[in-house]
Every structure is written in structure tokens, then in C-alpha cells.
Subunit: 342 residues, 2 copies
């Protein structure tokens, strides 16, 4: 199977970012790093769906403010979420005067967007792109499972959909103060392992994550230890252990530098989140709250980051279809990390 | 507002395409041009949703067969539909061994995909891309409105969701027998006119279509009459007349060369489709069945083609939100149409 790592002609830079989160996210270990939070999770809106849309709007506005850019400078805006027909993105960003591309990669949406935003920058007419992604625990529960009021029990393998939104601005030209460079891309292939348990998304996504990372190492000739960190989106505790097993079975044993956004975003001893966090807002906020600061401060120099998605809808689960997974990988390097690479 | 027409460095070519349709589509004026049809609309599947997924698979397989390409040669596959979480694309294409990008632009998905597939080809690692899109009347009715058995009445402004799928293969290098060149792109901006009538999608989309075409003419200095055809996706009869009014009010009166896929796909005198066809499968099949053959045979040389989408979901309509529209434009030129352009 052909897997070609894509190297942008000139590595785009992530100029800046912003994150918005809910109560439980604020209480997590990275809670202080959100730009905006609302302990009611409602963001002054009447429905969970419009609250999620508002989080996308707030995240993008804050990212623009932090970078000194205007929405009218955005040449291509990539946005997606878990809500049917990408409605959080549509209604959150409808008044942004920028070309709008709805994308869907379930919880892999962040890196699907970063990939497309990086590729678009290769056109000389495109100089600034944006990626926005979100999830909201209450809109996701209502749509995919049961209304919150139902109070259904959740098995230990289940994950907690993050109430969060992240916005990222990318430029084709290095600028002062940028967070990171995007130096390589490996878009994911959907992997169907035949799993049907919608309470164990980590297991459904782990094979896709392993496929993407193993393909990356095979194509590049590199190894996990060549990186400061290899990061997955929201495999959770369950999916992460499967992911490491798959790597070990395929020539990458004893990986010590793996982190998973879903396993880290909450204090799992205190918060009742079972296997960890999930949703587009998980990787969507953790990249900005944890990993870009590490690169910006030079504490880490090279990170492989792959958000992971479980591809399904409520009807497909009810009709007994399996849950394919997907993982899109981006290679991120600290902004000052020499120009000899690529 | 910044609207920048994007010119691909080397115009990508549409190498080939294929279409799949249902009974009513086969009975329409372009029915004989479908590569595959099934008069049961079921495509040997047990559910409407899996039937739609099968249509995507069949369309891509047929397009690959017609162009002599293999799925493993595809560097980036862009696919979308109207089903929640792009499930027709996911389950139709999950076994295609190619990097998968889910996209959502409602009925504008075809040209959103052609835009991204063209931009991706600017990366030297990408040489073949694919776009697949679909809609199915029965899966759309069940999801957005009522199950077919309910037999709800439909107002005259309503449209009929096309049961159809189209697949397109694009290459960065001109090859013998290609259908058309993609010589310019103008991605759409979401336009919210405050309309809330989900039985009149044409009116919701017409302002976005007008915005995209008027921006194109303003930026390029060209006029509608500089083209052989200006084509919209699925405004239907109602939306088309509004679209032409908007053009007339903004300096483009008496446009004689406009066609709308939705207004043409059915014989509206015979078929009970009210304002015309709609859905991702409308523009998704009409580009291949009507417009690419015109370009290939040299009967038309330059076409502006914009699929149009209404951005909403069932919950947003129930919650009283408006229905924004969007239209992504691609400029298509006949394959032999001199290299002096661009």
C-alpha cells in the first residue's frame, strides 16, 4: 500500500492558537492554560449545540486577537466537529468572512485540518489559513448516546467527550513569535478492524493510529526514539495500551515517549472519566495547551502528533456496522529548530 | 472582504469520472449517461444508508476502471455526503487503500472536493487525487424529514434529493483522454440570509451562489458572457430565478447562459420533483453526465461551475436557526483549450 509522507515545499508555521473549555476541562491538569472557560458549559447560549458553536467562534476570535490578525486575512478556514452536518462549525463560524471548508474526521479533525491547511498554503494565492475544531460533552451525549437526564451507566472502557474548542492560524511564512513549524504530513487511511463496541472507541482507533505511525517510521526510516514525543489524540488509557502493543508487535518495542491527549486531559483519579477524554476538542485543545508551548519554549524540539478518529454515526452503530478508525499525522518542530531539516 | 481567485500553478486535469444513479435518475434526460443504475435504488443492500455507501464504492471503482488507475495510486481521497458524520463516504470507501479526507459542504461537496483535490496536487508528493460524493433520496428523507412511509406533503418550492453518486479522478499532469482542466478556483464564503424554511433550500442557497459568482466576476474583471456556461449545483427552479435576480441587481442583467443541475436532472413535467433535484448527488452526477462531455467534445470550452450547499441539520432547523448557504466555484476548460490561458 502506497503511503507517501508529504513534505511541504516551505514548512508552514503555526502562528498562534487559542482554546476554550468547560468546567471539567478547567479542573484538569491543563485547565489554567485555556484562554476562556465557562463553568456552566453554556457560553450564554440556550442549547448545547449553539454553546458548542459559540466555543468555536470564541476560539477563532481569540486566536486572531493573540496573533494580531483579522478574519478577513484568512484565505481558507477548515473547521469540523462531531455534530451532524458539522453544525457547530457552520453556526459558530458563519459570520467569519473567510472561505469555509467543512471537514469531518471525527476526533481526527484537528490534524485533518492542519494537513489541508498546510497543503493549501502551497498555492501562492494562500497566505493565511485557519483550523477550528470542537466538541461538547452535552451535545455529543444527546446526539450519539442518550440525553444527560437519562443517566445511563458507562463501562470502564468508555471515554468522556471533551467540552472544548481549539483554533489554529497557519502561515506560509515564518513570523516572529510563531509556535511551531509543520515539517511533514502523513494523512491517514481508514482502518476497519471489525469492532462494533461504541463504548470502546479507543480499541476502534488504536489500529489506525498504529498503522499511521508504523507507516511513518517505515517510510522515513526513523524510529520512535528519534522524536521527543509521539502523541496520539484520544485513544484513552485502553486504546493507548493497545496502540503500544501494536507498535511492539511490529518492530517498535519499549516505546517510552508516547503520550495520549485523552489519557492526560483530565485528572483521571479525581474526574469520573473512565478511560479518558475524547472528541474533536480533546486533541483540539491539548495541542495548544500542552504541546505547542513545549515546542515554543524549546523544551521539546520534534513531536509526531496524530489525532485519531472513530468513524461512525448513531444509525451505523444501531444497524450493526463496525467502527473504522483513522489517524492523520503531522510532524511538528520547534520554530528555531534549524533550517537543515527537510 | 477579501476574495482571492486561486490559480493552480499547473492546472490539474480531470482524468475521468463515473456516475451511479437510481430509478428516477435513470428516467431523467441524462439517464442514459449513468455508468450504473439500479431500478430498486437498493444496490443489493439492506438499508438505504448502506445502499448509498455502495453507490460511492461503485462510482469510485468504475472511475478507476475507466481511467486504468488503481486505488493504490490515489494520494488523497476527498469524500462527503449528507448522512450524519459522512457515513456514506466512510462505509463506502473504508476499504479503499488511500488517504481519506471526509469533507462536508452539504450539496456543495463536489466543488469543495474538487477545490481541495486541486490544491493538494500542488504538493510534489501528490500525483493522483479523487473526489467522491453522493446522496440518496431515501436515506436523506429518513434523516432530515420523515421516513418515506409517512407520506408527508411537499410544498412547490421543495426539491427532490437525488439518488446518485459521482467519482472524479484528478491528476497534476495532463494525460491522453482527460475530460477537462481545472484552471481557477474560488472557494465559497458561508452566507446567512436569515431564511429558515427547510422546504425552500433554493432560496437559502441563491444568495451564496450569487455572492460567489459576483465575487468571481469582480476579481477577474470578466463577465458571465465570457463563458460558454455558468452552472449552479442545485438551486432548482425557485433558487435559479432568485440567483438570476441577484445577478441582475448587481450589474449582470440578462444572463442567458445559466444552467442549474437541479433544474435539469429530472424531466420536471413528468417527474413529481417540484422545484427540481438536490443533494450532493445532483451536481455530483451532472458534472460527469452533462458538462464534462460538453468540454471533452469541444462543444463548450469554458464553464464556471459552482455546486451549492445549504448548511443545516435536523436539530438546527427544529431549534429555529437559519439556513446559511455556500457555493464553491471551479473554472473548467476543455482539455485542448490552448495553454495561453492562466
Amino acid at each position: 500500500m502506497k503511503r507517501r509522507i508529504l513534505y511541504p515545499g516551505t514548512p508552514p508555521v503555526i502562528l498562534g492558537c487559542a482554546t476554550v473549555g468547560g468546567r471539567r476541562e478547567k479542573e484538569g491538569p491543563f485547565g489554567a492554560l485555556f484562554d476562556l472557560t465557562d463553568k456552566t458549559d453554556r457560553f450564554r447560549k440556550k442549547t448545547w449545540e449553539t454553546a458548542e458553536a459559540e466555543m468555536q467562534r470564541l476560539a477563532l476570535c481569540k486566536a486572531l486577537e493573540k496573533t494580531g490578525k483579522s478574519a478577513m486575512e484568512i484565505d481558507a478556514l477548515f473547521a469540523g466537529d462531531l455534530i451532524n452536518q458539522c453544525a457547530a462549525s457552520v453556526f459558530g463560524l458563519v459570520n467569519v468572512p473567510a472561505p469555509f471548508f467543512g471537514i469531518f474526521g471525527a476526533c481526527s479533525t484537528l490534524t485533518e485540518g492542519l494537513t489541508l491547511a498546510s497543503l493549501a498554503l502551497e498555492n501562492p494565492g494562500v497566505s493565511l489559513t485557519a483550523v477550528v475544531t470542537s466538541s461538547h460533552n452535552c451535545s455529543a451525549e444527546r446526539q450519539f448516546r442518550s440525553p444527560l437526564e437519562y443517566g445511563g451507566q458507562r463501562p470502564p472502557t468508555s471515554q468522556w467527550t471533551v467540552t472544548g474548542a481549539g483554533a489554529y492560524l497557519l502561515s506560509g511564512r515564518a513570523e516572529e513569535g510563531c509556535c511551531a513549524r509543520v515539517t511533514a504530513l502523513l494523512p491517514g487511511i481508514a482502518v476497519d478492524s471489525g469492532l462494533t463496541d461504541s463504548s470502546n472507541m479507543g480499541a476502534a482507533m488504536a489500529p489506525a493510529a498504529a498503522d499511521t505511525f508504523l507507516s511513518y517510521f517505515a517510510e522515513s526510516g526513523e524510529r520512535p526514539e528519534d522524536y521527543d514525543l509521539i502523541v496520539t489524540g484520544d485513544l484513552g488509557a485502553e486504546g493507548s495500551s493497545l496502540f503500544l502493543e501494536f507498535l511492539a508487535e511490529n518492530g517498535c518495542p519499549n516505546v517510552k515517549n508516547h503520550e495520549d491527549c485523552g489519557a492526560l486531559i483530565y485528572d483521571r483519579k479525581r474526574a469520573d472519566v473512565h478511560s479518558g477524554g475524547s472528541g474533536c476538542g480533546c486533541a483540539g485543545t491539548m495541542l495548544a495547551n500542552r504541546y505547542l508551548p513545549l515546542l515554543l519554549r524549546g523544551e521539546k524540539r520534534r513531536i509526531l502528533f496524530a489525532a485519531t478518529g472513530a468513524l461512525m454515526n448513531a444509525a451505523s452503530v444501531q444497524q450493526g456496522l463496525s467502527i473504522p478508525g483513522i489517524a492523520h499525522l503531522v510532524r511538528l518542530e520547534s520554530p528555531e529548530n534549524g533550517k537543515e531539516k527537510i
